[in-house]
Amino acid sequence: MSQYILRRVLLSIPALFGITVVIFVALRVMPGDPVSVMFGTQATKIRPEDRAKIEADLGLSSPLIVQYGKWLHDIATGKLGRSFWRGDTVVDLLVQRGPLTVEIAVMAIVLSWVVGVPVGILSALRQNTLLDYVARFFTVLFLAIPSFWLGAMIVLGLLLWRDYAPPLGVINLWDNPIQNLQIVWGPALVLGLAISAYIARMTRSGLLEIIREDYIRTARAKGLRERIVVLKHALRNAALPIITLSGILFGLLLSGTVVVEQAFNVPGLGKAMVEAFVMLDYAVVQNLVLLYGVVFVVLNLLVDISYAWLDPRIHYT
């Protein structure tokens, strides 16, 4: 197993390297000039010699390969660079805003399983009944509704009907749990429901396949309770594709935080990424995209490892 993990880690390095190249090139190729964005309408008054000095200060006047090399050096030394705009480090940004995004992501995943798996099970066991049709209607609905729209409707609804808006600022769980939950519940709910729709559909189709197997008929014939048959025998075998899907959906979750944090005005990493992108703050965008890439790769490795735990037939060498 350890050899497998090592091999996977080594294989992920080229993938992450590829991410750095893609994001670096994409930002430089994209139209727009950070100095112009930085100064807004005042940019038109910048003298050429001033522009040259500002670009040199930001490292933008170096050749691209030098800029890329410097960024890789910053990553290797853990510095990750500074925002073009404010001068605060990317590490500061991660420490300040990261916990909220992580909390939203974890709550969303938990919610997606808590809602998606039971709905999928019920839908499979009551196939082609009213319950199944209702469940399938809602899963398709939540697959189709854009999360930013749903988020905006929730914000608007609460404001117009209850005169309510969540607290402002970064309030972590350990600072004030109540206010923290007021901030994160909305984005977590929207994201969780969107992902639960996928989980529910995968659970339903997986279970429908499994419950027709001979060993399930045998288990029932032996007189086991239906709950044991479904949860212990059927679901365990149907879980593998659900877990695989969860790993892939985590990528959806990461991109989803960018959208829902904007909709709910939550000052997490997703919102920071949007702001940095609009402002062409290369350092912040590059490092956040890379971070998301690392998280995605690590989580998928954990998903793969979990197969061995779930299915004794799977051995990694």
Partner: protein
């Protein structure tokens, strides 16, 4: 007994004394009784206090609006995103009275003298003023601050440098004396000094940071508040400066300045009372706020031009007949109405609504061709002009660059349609990000483009100077007329109101004739505050957009 005053005399004298004392005390009390709200006018910022009789001390104000300070150097920026969170920490040399808005008050400068020829301004600084780090304010700090603004070193951008073109040098002639020596008289010099961004910082701060404070989030000022903590892009928390040189102020213990995007996000937080003072709500939230008990709204007016540039480098926009034709057929009132629920904008002309001369000018101009909704005669005249210019068949293939801001994206197809229907001018809309727009506009890579920009002062020398004077900061058409340039230069020197009005009239005539750009409107920003926020005069702030942001007289009722 003989020789002893009669008791009755004693009694009478005592009574008389008591009555006299009582009358004197009553008189003194009457003289020191607090003036009714709004009536008292401080003659000096050191005497400023809240207009209400019994302001309460304490509490933390929650201010919400565009406050994602980037480029922390106030001398180098021009956005509310800096002024909101940072202005309370700094003072000015002189300031606009933040309660009555009708005059310039001594601020860090206790007094000043102006030479007979208007070429020398001598300021005497207040004693006993300290920066937040305990260092005393000296003349060298003021000189360094204004050299930073007026004569910026390489790599430092100073948007307001043009306001001080008349200044030859700034010199400290004593520990507390600063002299501004001018090349020529300036009609708005004190007003320029009072512009909200021209704050006084420590000379040592500038030197230690190589004269660039763009990435320095906290640097000492002399203002009523100082930074407690900064979460970039989220909130700046300010606390009361206990050593503030006005012993009465501030009343608040602190201010939390939350960053909220302009428009509905600020509106939502305002209506839910998550914030007490709301900067920049959308028109729909403004209407709703006006119906809520406990909420008050007001509008403030930046000095801005919103409109359409036609690139003079592109034929036939160098032909004034074509520009006049375009101006005649565009329905400006209609364009304003079309975006009225998403952004605050109102009609404007060559003279902007923030200018004291606007009312007089607009009364005559608003129903003239080119400013009113087009009539049949206007359209016929436009077609005739195009025919005279040789473009009766219209134009094809024009590049219409539009910045990715909602109201501009909404306007673009309307403008495109009007030009096509009326004048057969066909264009392709090219939406671009803001950063790209600045590049395209300044380098002339467009045929038509919608613009929206602001300047500092509601004075023609500033907004005409930037917009239509040769080499003006936003003159990207580019338009050049030496006669007009001379008029703008003269307005900068002129302090006599009647002569200034005459110069403005001359300038208007030239602009009416040349039509260097198509002006649609000017902006307003809607503000709102809950009734617990007292001690301010936001309701009458009007055109003093960048001023009165220090919040030193504000207090919380509950």
């Amino acid at each position: 007994m003989q020789g002893q005053p009669h008791v009755g005399v004693f009694s009478g004298s005592l009574v008389l004394l008591l009555v006299t004392l009582l009358m004197a005390w009553a008189s003194a009390t009457a003289q020191t009784a607090p003036a009714p709200p709004g009536a008292a006018e401080a003659t000096d910022a050191g005497l400023l206090k809240a207009p209400e009789a019994s302001p309460k001390r304490g509490g933390t104000l929650r201010w919400g609006g565009l406050a994602n300070s980037t480029l922390y150097d106030l001398h180098q920026t021009g956005t509310i995103a800096n002024m909101g969170p940072q202005a309370p920490m700094y003072d000015l040399l002189v300031q606009i009275d933040p309660l009555n808005w009708n005059r310039i008050l001594p601020d860090l400068a206790k007094s000043w003298q102006v030479s007979q020829d208007g070429l020398t301004y001598i300021f005497l600084l207040r004693e006993g003023v300290q920066f937040h780090d305990g260092a005393p304010l000296t003349a060298d700090d003021v000189v360094a601050s204004f050299n930073h603004i007026i004569f910026p070193p390489s790599g430092v951008i100073s948007p307001r440098r043009g306001l001080f073109d008349a200044v030859r040098e700034v010199v400290a002639t004593g520990e507390r004396t600063v002299e501004f020596r001018l090349k020529e008289p300036s009609g708005f010099f004190l007003r320029a000094l009072a512009a909200g961004f021209n704050v006084i910082v420590r000379k040592k701060t500038l030197e230690e940071n190589n004269y660039d404070l763009r990435r320095v989030p906290v640097y000492p000022g002399t203002g009523p508040f100082r930074t407690k903590s900064v979460e970039p892009g989220v909130v700046r928390r300010l606390e009361r400066n206990p050593s503030y040189w006005n012993p009465t102020l501030p009343y608040l213990d602190g201010i939390e300045v939350f960053h909220l995007e302009f428009g509905p996000k600020t509106g939502a937080a305002c209506l839910a009372h998550t914030i007490d003072f709301c900067w920049g709500i959308d028109p729909v939230s403004e209407q709703k706020a006006q119906r809520i008990k406990g909420l008050t709204t007001a509008r403030v007016y930046p000095t801005t031009y919103w409109g359409l540039w036609l690139n003079f480098r592109t034929k036939p926009f160098d032909d004034v007949r074509v520009r006049r034709a375009v101006n005649l057929v565009l329905d400006k009132p209609g364009l304003i109405e079309a975006v009225s629920e998403s952004v605050g904008t109102e009609r404007a002309g060559w003279v902007l609504p923030t200018d004291p001369h606007f009312q007089e000018y607009w009364a005559k101009a608003r129903e003239q061709p080119g400013w009113r909704s087009p009539t049949a005669e206007d359209r016929a005249e436009a077609k005739r002009l195009m025919q005279d210019a040789g473009y009766a068949q219209g134009l094809k293939g024009l590049d219409f660059v539009v910045r990715d801001i909602p109201f501009q994206l909404a306007w673009a197809p309307m403008v495109q349609d009007m030009l096509k229907r009326e004048l057969k001018i066909e264009s392709t809309i090219r939406p671009v990000a803001s950063g790209v727009w600045y590049e395209e506009a300044s380098s002339g890579h467009y045929d038509l483009t919608i613009h929206a920009y602001g300047v500092t002062l509601p004075h023609v020398a500033d907004y005409w100077g930037n917009s239509f004077k040769s080499d003006g900061g936003y003159n990207f058409m580019p338009y050049s007329n030496p006669e007009f340039d001379a008029i703008v230069a003269a307005t900068a020197r002129e302090s006599d109101p009647a002569k200034l009005r005459a110069l403005i009239e001359q300038g208007i005539q030239i602009l009416d004739r040349d039509v260097p750009s198509i002006v649609f409107s000017s902006a307003y920003i809607a503000l709102a505050w809950w009734d617990n926020v007292q001690g301010h005069s936001t309701a009458t702030k009007g055109a003093n957009f960048w001023e009165g942001m220090r919040n030193e007289t504000w207090w919380l009722a509950k």
